[in-house]
Symmetry: C2
Subunit: 479 residues, 2 copies
């Protein structure tokens, strides 16, 4: 018997902490805060990487590889950047048996070293735009690590571009944000809230940070990725200048944007249920698991032939499947095993199915059908598409239910955000003072919603504030 | 005008050092010994990765991700392993603003941390074999770095497997060696010499190291990858035990195997010529470059339509191509530019070609043909296959010419290996004493050729040695 998972409704956090291990996405590592991504988790991440990589290339970016180590002095060149990152840095002080003259920082992000290279490459307006992407591991020392959500080492892509004009740079920032949003919608079946970070919450060294955030079942927001218009300060810091078409010297406008293995955590939280994780078919490493129900004295050869035909059908539709022939485990054990791992479709094939030329099809959400084995490939493909759409629909409904529109927040009630499992949409006066009043409530402004032209309320969410409101915001606790 | 490259025959080393930068495969980085892999080099590496990854998966391995940092104590667990790697380690001593209790080593290879995890995962014979692969960056502090060939940080895959029996483990070691050899032959068009490393040259902690080496135009051997049967000492060091089918406790047999971005360096050296690098079509990021030869007052729209048709043809054959429309550069400049970058085929399309429904086709080796634009996709595909085969043929011929069979080596002549640009095949008595006599000649035994059943000579390559010979070996200087 497999142990049950903690109750997903009452103990969501414990549920998450167990399900990721039991589904074998990840394992504890002997290095504090770093994770071991197991084959199943890695296959899931690779599916995400493949799609994202193709999108990044289709929008005109090229991959490159920059050093893991960054000279400490590089990070110091941009004042806000080093201030933001210095508490999280891992530093190499010794190498090759000697103390290094200058310590090397293990990259927490690569702006500084990439901008140093940009400065070598950009001489003329003809060299622009430069549109680079890097798939890499980065290190940020975390005090409260949680696998996928917050780890000292994580995996990500970081885009870095340089443009001749601010307008073009900002278009890039929006383009990539939109790429991320559609990736989340179309592949991860995760609807997100997108907007702009406040001055306090933006990336260290950026002029504008756009963000997309998911609202998790516990009401906490998860920042799933960001897209930054960097101020020209990085270009100044690295003396990155180019000759314009008119012959002047100018500083280029830079952007950076990234998303990480955190997306795996989001996927687990958004779709999972009491029986385990649920993977959207478009990113599931295994879309269909076939479980032969073998009885004693059954004709194994006939089973094999029958399942071979099903395999051919699935292959023709390019469906990723696995046949679980393991004879040491019962069918019931296997059902739980693959449910826990979120495989969208299960085919059960017993003696009766063989005789009826049928397959017993069970979706991860529990719907059961008998389907003829003829054209089972088409049948499965349609069903997978349906599941993909259903998951998005369900997640959209949940997002809608999780965001409450509210006029004011009781900032004197420190347990305002406790146990309600919701996020709030409200209006804000744009002042840092009001924003900071959320700190004792362990909540923050997750983003300013750009698309709203006028504030919902004339009064700021802070009851005693008398300033006029400027924008709408999402306020929540966060991961 | 583009500067010429150093003479490839007289100054091979200088030629290499310049061509990799001029072809924009790589750039100098501000971190000593680490390289920046530029988009063109990265695209080439990604082509290699895609093929190798598919082969690794097809042979039953799964990718996973393990931490970058390894606790120092882990490396100390296997005595030979730490002895071999300790001079090359980069060490993180501070993180998150504090001195670490135990320093963390940036992985030079991941045996120790992966074996630690294997010990958690392997309990019973049913858990075996475990067949894992990791794509990762690793760090080894190099005193004399050269891009791709020897860099402080490099990119690689490292396979790690555990088996119930030594026989099965050794089969794995041979299987992966053979996968590498066919990858080199079939994709990189590089014939290699494969064999076993001597006791002195094997991987620190291994029982047997198999290697495959290319002989470069300067006669030096380049170790392109290795496949190790690890002794059980790693299993002992990490207390990795499993219950056998018979209920006994046993230590599994481990393997590891890897190949690196060094393959890019091999490719450059093996195929390049005075005009630049030459890329085998199967790994070339761009297989065909199309250069419109636009004259003043030519009908640009007609050109665009004509080239559009060619593009459709190439797309139908899934050929990777690029149309160089840049109006700031002359056709002659572009010819040199793309030759330098090793693009296998160039299509020149001028006014006359338009009128004759033709394309002027030039291979990277200089063969010129006029081809009809109808079915140009098929034509190009055939020609690319021919080029791929020709490159392998040429490289095989060169390898044959570079390896001299010789009875003895004048170990008193310290310049024996100078300026001859050849490697030697000879016989050896298996003694370390004779092997060490090569050191003053700056040469080494690259491998013992396993496939040779009897020694070529009864006398060892060391003239004064009186021991009987046991095997044949390849002796050369090396990278």
């Amino acid at each position: 018997m497999q142990e049950r998972l903690p109750n997903i409704n009452n103990s969501f956090s414990e549920w998450y902490n167990e399900v990721i291990f039991k589904a074998e996405l990840v394992d504890h590592s002997p290095v504090r805060g770093a994770m071991v991504v197991r084959p199943y988790g890695c296959a899931l991440w690779e599916r995400m990487v493949a799609v994202l990589d193709a999108r990044i290339k289709a929008t005109g970016h090229q991959n490159a590889l920059f050093p893991l180590f960054i000279p400490e002095s590089f990070l110091n060149k941009e004042a806000q950047h080093i201030e933001g990152f210095s508490p999280e840095l891992a530093v190499v002080t010794h190498a090759g048996g000697n103390k290094l003259e200058e310590p090397l920082v293990v990259r927490p992000t690569s702006e500084t070293i990439i901008h140093y290279m940009f400065a070598q490459w950009i001489k003329s307006w003809r060299d622009l735009p430069i549109k680079i992407n890097q798939w890499a591991n980065v290190v940020r020392w975390e005090m409260r690590p949680r696998p996928f959500l917050r780890t000292t080492e994580f995996y990500w892509q970081e885009g870095h571009t340089a443009h001749a004009t601010r307008k073009e740079a900002y278009e890039e920032v929006e383009l990539m944000l939109n790429e991320y949003i559609s990736f989340c919608n179309d592949y991860l079946a995760i609807p997100v809230i997108a907007g702009q970070k406040t001055e306090q919450e933006k990336f260290p060294g950026a002029e504008i940070t756009l963000t997309f955030e998911g609202i998790m079942p516990d009401g906490k927001a998860l920042q799933m990725g960001t897209s930054h218009l960097l101020s020209q300060s990085f270009a100044h810091a690295f003396e990155m200048k180019f000759q314009t078409e008119e012959g002047r010297l100018a500083y280029p406008f830079l952007t950076s944007w990234g998303t990480t293995t955190r997306l795996v955590g989001a996927l687990v939280m958004i779709h999972g249920d009491q029986n385990g994780i649920i993977l959207p078919p478009r990113v599931a490493p295994i879309q269909v698991v076939i479980i032969p129900i073998l009885k004693k004295n059954c004709d194994l050869e006939r089973f094999k032939d029958y399942i071979k035909c099903i395999e051919i059908e699935l292959n023709n539709q390019k469906i990723r499947f696995f046949v679980d022939w393991d004879t040491h485990k019962t069918p019931g054990f296997k059902f739980n095993h693959w449910e826990l791992r979120g495989v969208p479709l299960r085919f059960e094939v017993g003696m009766r199915d063989l005789e009826n030329d049928g397959v017993f099809v069970v979706t991860r959400m529990g719907t059961k059908t008998c389907a003829p084995s003829k054209d089972i490939g088409f049948f499965a493909e349609n069903l997978l598409q349906e599941i993909q759409a259903d998951l998005l629909k369900r997640a959209k409904k949940s997002l809608f239910e999780k965001v409450f529109v509210i006029e004011s927040i009781d900032i004197d009630n420190s347990s305002f955000f406790e146990d309600k499992a919701i996020a709030y949409k409200t209006s804000w006066c744009l002042s840092k003072t009001c924003e900071n009043l959320l700190k004792p409530l362990k909540a923050s402004i997750r983003c300013i919603i750009n698309t709203d032209t006028t504030p919902l309320y004339t009064h700021c969410f802070v009851p005693h504030c008398s300033e006029p409101t400027i924008c709408n915001v999402i306020i929540a606790k966060s991961y």
